[in-house]
């Protein structure tokens, strides 16, 4: 007997697909109603994800056998605390982007509304699928689904975005091919594709070269997908020239989902014992440090705001991977294990989502791309600029914002393993963040347009964006502060504790 909640994981994916098709068909008759279908679906999905989280916390993981076939033959959906947590972040950000997209898409891609929403919905279906599946091959398929939707969405704007999308397509395909190869290696050894099953079957073969090779393939493939430092070259242009809400999705959740896959594969398939055999995670830390520095420095040199944000995403992936890398050795309770990494995934989704949406708002209103063009913008768009400032401050890591909390935790983890170099890098990078974000804030607030000062005091010039776009931006930015305080107050930690417990990370209580 399965309870109602246990059907929800598949329903989340299925209604996403359904709504994609419905949007396509309805779009033929009335393309204004698409957005409402889209919203309703996302809202339903979001509510379902809340139910799932509740169920997982209360009764433990959900195992759902598709078609009633028992694993390892059938495909299984597994929802444990890690999935449920990621799923909520994913759907929340999607919801925010969806609300935002109504006005923005009408403005930016007026003729392509229907296909845009269809693809967007498919993207979400793919992301949900990756998150929920318990089968490694299924994961690959869903990765491809969301990647393909992403390629198309990035290219939606045409011109330079086409090139960016093509580069991403080539590199992304190579990445997923490597992932597929890794799966092949594992399959050749164990003959199973179920994640849980693999973790049971693998231990006898830990010193087998093929298993190690498979792991390396996974790392390389996923590094490309998550734009870890040497493989980040596709990211800046792709994120910079996609429509704003897609940029937010790409930076805020898509690369994080790849990180999730990495975490899942490393900890659920190759268990801790295997990871401790190889110095992979130590190397990963250093790569991540390089990513942090490189991303931040490159961000400083950018003139284009969205490209700057994209490089900042590279740096932030560095943070997340550094936290993942430290998760093996740092065990003390609040920052041990995967806590900082998972926290930063959520935090980065909030911050980057807000920043990209705000950047999109500037483009929407006045086609402003370059930082130098933002003079006096704070007068015209006070709310958007305020939200941008809050998110930027959060990126810099000023307390009590979310950025501060994750930075603090990563620092504490680095201190615990006595690697003061990482601490220094993290602190320096927050100064670098300051350098590139403050430039924007200063231009928006402190500099004036040519001919400028006379217009002081006259409030009539306010050119705020439509409410539909403003609300998600304000929501995300206020969450940057609220969540920061919530994290400090330790409220959502039980989820993370369960994750650590599941993977045997952190201190055994």
């Amino acid at each position: 007997m399965t309870s109602f909640v246990e059907h929800l994981p598949i329903l989340i994916i299925a209604i996403s697909l359904f709504s994609a098709l419905t949007i396509l068909v309805v779009g033929w008759f009335n393309n204004r109603s698409c957005i409402f279908i889209f919203w309703l679906t996302l809202l339903a999905q979001f509510i379902m994800s809340l139910f799932i989280l509740n169920h997982v916390l209360a009764y433990g993981p959900i195992h759902y056998w598709l078609g009633g076939w028992k694993p390892p033959w059938g495909i299984e959906l597994v929802v444990d605390s890690l999935n449920a947590y990621i799923l909520i972040i994913l759907l929340f950000l999607s919801l925010a982007c969806a609300i935002y997209s109504k006005s923005n898409i009408e403005h930016e891609l007026p003729g392509k509304r229907v296909s845009f929403y269809t693809l967007f919905q498919l993207l979400i279906a793919g992301l949900c699928g990756v998150t929920l599946t318990g089968d490694i091959f299924n994961m690959f398929v869903f990765i491809e689904i969301f990647s393909i939707s992403a390629y198309a969405l990035i290219a939606a704007r045409g011109k330079i975005a086409l090139k960016a999308s093509f580069t991403y397509l080539i590199l992304g395909s190579i990445g997923t091919c490597f992932f597929l190869l890794g799966i092949g290696f594992l399959y050749s050894i164990t003959g199973s594709l179920n994640l849980h099953d693999l973790s049971i079957l693998l231990p006898p073969f830990y010193d087998n070269k093929v298993v190690k090779a498979a792991f390396v393939f996974f790392i390389v493939g996923l590094s490309i997908k998550m734009a870890l430092f040497p493989f980040h070259t596709w990211l800046p242009d792709a994120h910079a020239f996609a429509p704003a809400e897609i940029s937010a999705m790409l930076s805020g959740i898509m690369i994080e989902i790849s990180t999730y896959v990495f975490i899942r594969v490393s900890f659920s398939v190759f268990t801790l014992e295997f990871l401790k055999l190889l110095p992979v995670f130590d190397i990963l830390c250093w790569v991540a440090v390089a990513a942090i520095l490189m991303g931040s420095v490159m961000a400083i040199t950018q003139v284009n705001l969205k490209r700057m944000l994209a490089y900042s995403s590279v740096a932030n992936m560095g943070y997340i991977m550094l936290a993942v890398g430290l998760s093996l050795s740092a065990v003390e309770s609040p920052w041990g294990g995967l806590n900082p990494a998972l926290m930063h995934i959520a935090n980065h989704a909030l911050m980057k989502g807000c920043l990209f949406l705000a950047a999109g708002a500037f483009i929407y209103k006045a086609n402003l791309w370059n930082i130098t063009e933002f003079r006096g913008l704070a007068k015209k768009m006070p709310y958007t600029c305020a939200a941008f400032v809050i998110a930027a401050i959060s990126m810099i890591g000023i307390p009590p914002s979310v950025g501060f909390v994750s930075k603090l935790y990563i620092i504490m983890a680095s201190i615990e393993i006595k690697n003061y170099f990482f601490v220094a890098v993290l602190l320096i990078s927050s100064l670098l963040n300051l350098a590139y974000f403050w430039r924007v804030i200063e231009t928006m607030y402190m500099k004036h347009e040519e001919g400028g000062r006379s217009s002081h005091g006259s409030h009539g010039t306010s050119e705020e964006i439509p409410l539909g776009m403003l609300i998600p931006i304000l929501l995300l930015s206020s969450l940057c502060i609220v969540m920061g305080i919530v994290w400090l107050g330790k409220v959502p930690i039980p989820v993370l504790d369960q994750v650590n417990l599941m993977f045997g990370l952190g201190k055994v209580p």
Binding site: L408, M412, I428, G457, L488, G489, K490
Partner: protein, 516 residues
């Protein structure tokens, strides 16, 4: 040993400026309402904070935990002890006066972006009082950074390239220092598992190796760069481009005081005097303070711009506080603690005078101020009182703290420190005296064209001494606060226990060192 009373008062005290900030934003189009919010919040806050005084004097502490258990051993919470209350009283009281002054100043000069100004001002006070009431380093850090960020728009208020440059410099210095502070806090936490302020300190020689502790202290010191000791002081004079009430805020009330406050917290409540003594850090800190005291005074002599001169004076005076703490003797610490509010009152008098002179006559430089004592006698009198206090002359409050500092130097047994103190005081006289002489005893040049300062000067007719102070009714708003502070500076010398300050300092020292 100390009883803790749970109370919501600290939180209420913090809520006042925060609420005021929101209300200011909401009523941005109605200046009168907007500014009255500031004043109302200020009065409430001061009343709440002052009402905690008697409880604290009994040796209790008032605590308000609001977030427990994020890091084991670190609760984000507020705790009011004697020393914190001293700073809180100072900043909340001066907020009222500076606000009154601001209203006059900003309106006279018709400054732009006043809503932002008052909003950030309220946030800065929120930060400063938060620093004062913090229970542990972690909480302190949060408010410390809020303070940094919220004062940036004030420093760069003018939005001229020069102001922007100053703002950038300000941020670069202070946020870098924040980074050091965070590192230090994290390290401290990782070795001791707590960041609470204990009167005896929670770091001992047993917690880590000597070099580690010394490096940690260095990190802390770098972290509190707001204290503006000498190699890292240059942001402070640069920040002088800000409107004068802001300078007053930076120099007397919030920012720099938060810095020294932090250092005192570190020395007395994190390391503890014993550990400091054993590590020999006291002498190091004292030397640093001595160099700053004398060096900054020498710099000050060379300045012609009045505000710049006052800025260097601030740098020098702040180091008196560091110096007093570094002596690690009861008297010295008392002196240091007293100097925080007392210097605040005196320096704010000086700055308000400078601001009033600028607003009323448009004069910035000392060389232009010949004979200004005749057009603005009360202002210059107040200025003289403040200056005397800086030099440590008896009828003004500065005498009290210097007296204690001197006693502390003797108590610590090192006469060279006493000598340094005297030399520094002498230098204070050297840079303040010429100004007073110029103002009162030199006559105004017959033909004077006022510098076209920002196009907002009020014309002064040459040759005809005229009472500028009473010429416009709005000047009253500036004139009143500076008179009050000058008066209070005098009163503090006579009644040092006004606002419980001496009593609180005694309680604090008793907790730290076991009595005077």
């Amino acid at each position: 040993m100390t009883l803790t009373v749970e109370s919501i008062k600290p939180a209420l005290a913090l809520a006042c400026p925060l609420l005021a900030a929101l209300l200011i934003l909401l009523s941005s189009r109605r200046p009168n309402l907007r500014e009255s919010w500031t004043l109302i919040a200020g009065l409430f806050q001061f009343a709440i904070i002052l009402s905690m005084g008697p409880v604290i004097l009994l040796g209790k502490t008032v605590a308000f935990p609001f977030l427990t258990g994020v890091l084991p051993g670190v609760d984000f919470g507020l705790k009011v002890d004697a020393f914190g209350l001293i700073f809180a009283i100072t900043s909340s009281f001066l907020w009222i006066l500076v606000s009154v002054f601001s209203i006059g100043y900003m309106r006279t000069l018709k400054e732009h972006a006043q809503t932002r100004y008052y909003f950030c001002f309220a946030l800065a006070i929120f930060g400063a009082v938060g620093v004062a009431l913090s229970k542990n380093l972690m909480t302190l850090f949060i408010f410390y950074e809020i303070l940094t960020i919220s004062t940036y728009p004030l420093v760069a208020h003018e939005e001229s390239p020069e102001a922007l440059f100053a703002g950038r410099k300000y941020l670069a210095y202070l946020l870098t220092s924040g980074v050091f502070l965070l590192a230090a806090i994290a390290l401290d936490y990782s070795i001791t598992g707590t960041t609470d302020f204990n009167p005896g300190g929670h770091l001992t020689l047993a917690s880590a190796s000597r070099p580690f502790l010394m490096i940690l202290f260095l990190l802390f010191l770098l972290g509190f760069m707001k204290a503006a000791y000498i190699p890292f002081h240059s942001w402070l004079p640069a920040a002088m481009v800000a409107p004068t009430p802001v300078s007053a805020l930076l120099h007397a009330v919030a920012v720099v005081k938060a810095g020294v406050f932090g250092v005192v917290r570190i020395v007395c409540y994190v390391y503890g005097t014993n550990t400091m003594q054993e590590l020999g850090l006291g002498v190091m800190l004292a030397s640093l303070a001595a160099v700053t005291m004398i060096g900054a005074s020498l710099f000050a002599i060379a300045q012609d711009n009045l505000k710049k001169r006052l800025a260097y004076s601030t740098i020098s005076q702040l180091s008196y506080i560091l110096f007093g703490v570094a002596l690690l003797s009861p008297m010295g610490v008392t002196g240091a603690m007293l100097h925080i509010p007392l210097h605040g009152f005196m320096k704010i008098t000086l700055f308000l005078c400078a601001g009033f002179i600028l607003a009323a006559s448009g004069k910035k430089n000392i060389s232009e101020m010949a004979g200004i004592g005749r057009t603005m006698p009360v202002t210059m009198l107040a200025f003289t009182i403040g200056a005397l206090g800086m030099c440590g002359a008896p009828p003004v409050a500065g005498f009290i703290s210097k007296w204690y500092l001197g006693l502390g130097a003797i108590q610590s047994g090192q006469m060279i420190f006493l000598a340094i103190l005297l030399i520094a005081s002498l230098l204070d006289v050297v840079y303040f005296f010429p100004l007073i002489r110029t103002a009162f005893f030199e006559t105004m040049p017959s033909q004077e064209l006022l510098p076209g300062d920002r196009g907002k000067t009020v014309p002064v007719f040459p040759g005809k001494p005229q009472r500028l102070e009473a010429s416009r009714s709005i000047y009253f708003l500036m004139f009143l606060p500076l008179s009050i502070t000058a008066l209070l500076s005098m009163l503090f010398c006579l009644f040092p226990n006004l606002f419980y300050i001496l009593g609180l300092a005694r309680v604090a020292v008793r907790d730290i060192l076991g009595g005077l």
